[in-house]
């Protein structure tokens, strides 16, 4: 812990990331009690510029953009954690089992992983989300499926190297059941790099899901999701740029904070890189 504080002190960028994330957390926890409803329509106040009454202006339906951004933040936070969580569970399960079992199962799993990584991530997510039907849940599942192969790869290589260690041999010799060895020895000892991978992926999970929302494949109106809000307000962007730029910058800042933290975590777990930071 002391180490971590020292690390944050030296690593300004990581501290900035933690700072943005903290602001973001306060806003989504306290914010909804302070602002009006994100779906309250007020046609008399449509497309108003930012003012003391509406800090981030209003959209084409007179809805308060600040309120929509704050409520959207709740979805975004849930999206980042859930999508990476689902991808983690699917990917790590297949990767660890493949690496530990080896043989034909390993070969088949890894070819499927190769095939899935042969699609540009966003393209595969679009194709899946379009097939499942447009909704936020489906978009999240689609993005999770496209992220899972990366977890499978890391998990497999970790499982391969851990399985060859002496204590796994010893556990085998003691006659422990394979499932127990897999969970207690292989999974637990592979967890570090997997967590780094997870922290690096929260940002892209948010970015991809917002992109699907922007393309009309994610959250549907009137849900205050950031990506969907950017595209809903594209038509008014020349005359009222705040309507699209507000949620757009919110996506950027959220992704940036997670990327800064993920980057620092990767440094933290990699002593060779750690020494390079000044």
């Amino acid at each position: 812990m002391i180490d971590l504080i020292y690390f944050l002190k030296r690593n300004t960028l990581a501290a900035v990331g933690v700072g943005i994330l903290a602001l973001f957390l306060v806003a989504v926890i306290v914010g909804p009690f302070l602002v009006q409803s994100p779906i309250a329509i007020d046609m008399g106040a449509k497309l108003q510029a930012p003012s003391p009454r509406h800090w981030f202006g209003t959209d084409n339906f007179g809805r308060d953009m600040l309120s929509r951004i704050i409520h959207g933040g709740r979805y975004t936070l849930a999206i980042g954690i859930l999508v990476v969580g689902i991808a983690f569970v699917i990917g790590v399960f297949f990767g660890i089992v493949a690496g530990f079992t080896g043989g034909i199962l390993d070969m088949v799993t890894m070819r499927i992983v190769d095939a899935m990584l042969s699609f540009p991530a966003l393209v595969l997510a679009i194709a899946l989300a379009a097939a499942f039907g447009p909704s936020l849940e489906n978009a999240m599942i689609a993005v999770a499926i496209t992220l899972a192969p990366q977890f499978a790869r890391v998990a497999r290589s970790q499982a391969l190297s851990v399985s060859s260690l002496l204590y796994v041999d010893a556990a085998n010799a003691l006659g422990l059941p394979r499932r127990q060895i897999l969970i207690r020895y292989v999974l637990i000892n592979s967890i570090g790099p997997l967590l780094v991978q997870a922290s690096l992926n929260v940002g892209s999970a948010i970015l991809q899901t917002a992109s699907l929302g922007f393309l009309g494949l994610g959250a549907q109106p009137p849900m205050p999701e950031w990506g969907a809000d950017v595209s809903a307000n594209l038509a008014f962007v020349r005359s009222s740029p705040w309507t699209a730029l507000g949620p757009g910058f919110a996506i950027f800042l959220a992704v940036l904070s997670f990327n800064l933290i993920g980057d620092a975590m990767a440094d933290w777990f990699n002593p060779r890189r750690r020494s390079q930071i000044g």
């Binding site: 960028l13 070819r111 499927i112 190769d114 095939a115 899935m116 042969s118 699609f119 540009p120 991530a121 966003l122 393209v123 595969l124 679009i126 194709a127 899946l128 379009a130 097939a131 499942f132 039907g133 940002g203 970015l207 917002a210 992109s211 922007f214 393309l215 009309g216 494949l217 990506g227 950017v230 595209s231 594209l234 962007v237 020349r238 740029p241 699209a244 730029l245 757009g248 910058f249 996506i251 950027f252 992704v255 940036l256 990327n259 800064l260 980057d263 390079q276 000044g278």
Partner: protein, 336 residues
């Protein structure tokens, strides 16, 4: 070299087969009867029956896949539900537009990203190095559609320096010869066509290139720092070569090799970004076509475009491997 490429192609076959299975399954993932979902409410029974027949939905899945494969070999990617045209010809019509900005973006990214990476590696922890780190993290975190929107607002709408969208000013008549606006403009007699084509390309290319340049810069920096710590670099310095000579003649060549792989992989991701970028700039490529298909629920087009993106990606990774073999004597020796 030839044997290497053939072997590499053969090793791609199982992956290609799985890619085809995935793309084929996409339509079958649609909940309920795909034909009814695709046609939407208000479709007549005979329309639904016709679409079911066209997609061979009444046959067993394996037979359906067989029909899909034999169709593909004959260049049949299905028919667009919106326009009624074959998907393949619709995609081929738009492919040059996407390739035009993608290739330009790769070139720009290499020209910008490499020197930035080298400069920050040779001055680690300097102000410049930190600045590069901040800028590249910003670049990686920025949604493509937001950057596109900001650039469009600032340089096109407010300053008026560049065109807002499209590929060519509407008063210019340029014949469609190659499909590449720049080449067609150069071939035509219209004065100002080349200039117009370039001006229209600047914003979309900048958006696409910025992501690639950001990742490439960071990668070259890391790779260069690693190389600079190698024994042979120290030996070269000890022999009395100048710092500059060591950096540019010894270290740079070795550290640029892995960067080729990064450019190849990121090129594919950039194609995904093209969907967002082309949408904002109304650039008539495959990306915007896919966006329109999503809006119209034109599933055969989404399916076809997905396959084309995957094939482009596989082709790029093959090219990257071949290039790697040509440039790296160690890989070349292992090959023979």
């Amino acid at each position: 070299m030839f044997a290497f490429i053939v072997r590499r192609l053969l090793s791609l076959l199982p992956v290609l087969a799985l890619v085809l299975v995935i793309v084929f399954s996409l339509v079958r993932l649609i909940p309920g009867d795909p034909a009814i979902t695709l046609l939407g409410p208000g479709a007549t029974d005979s329309q639904i029956a016709a679409l079911r027949a066209q997609l061979n939905l009444d046959e067993p899945a394996l037979l359906q896949f067989w029909h899909y494969l034999t169709g593909l070999i004959q260049g049949d990617l299905g028919t667009s539900l919106k326009s009624g045209q074959p998907v393949l010809s619709e995609i081929l019509l738009r492919l040059p537009a996407t390739l035009e900005i993608s290739i330009a973006a790769v070139l720009v990214a290499i020209l910008v990203g490499t020197p930035i990476g080298v400069l920050s590696a040779t001055r680690p922890n300097s102000f410049f190095d930190h600045l590069v780190r901040v800028v590249s993290l910003t670049g990686v975190s920025m949604p493509a559609f937001l950057l596109a929107l900001i650039l469009q607002l600032v340089f096109a709408t407010w300053l008026g320096w560049l065109p807002v969208s499209g590929r060519m000013s509407s008063y210019l008549f340029v014949d469609h010869v190659t499909g590449f606006a720049l080449i067609d403009a150069w071939l035509s007699d219209e004065t100002g066509a080349v200039k117009s084509a370039i001006l229209h390309m600047i914003l979309p290319v900048t958006v696409l290139a910025s992501f690639l340049a950001a990742t490439l810069g960071r990668f070259v920096r890391a790779s260069m720092l690693e190389t600079l710590g190698e024994d042979y670099v120290r030996t070269a310095r000890a022999k009395g070569l100048s710092r500059r000579e060591v950096i540019y003649n010894h270290a740079l060549r070795t550290s640029l090799l892995p960067a080729i792989t990064v450019v190849g992989l990121k090129f594919a991701e950039m194609l995904g970004g093209a969907i967002l970028t082309e949408t904002i700039f109304s650039w008539p490529g495959i990306g915007r076509f896919m966006f329109e298909a999503i809006r119209n629920r034109d599933y055969p087009v989404i399916q076809g475009a997905t396959l084309v993106f995957a094939l482009l990606f596989m082709l790029t990774s093959l090219l990257v491997d071949a290039l790697y073999a040509v440039l790296d004597p160690r890989v070349r020796r292992k090959m023979n």
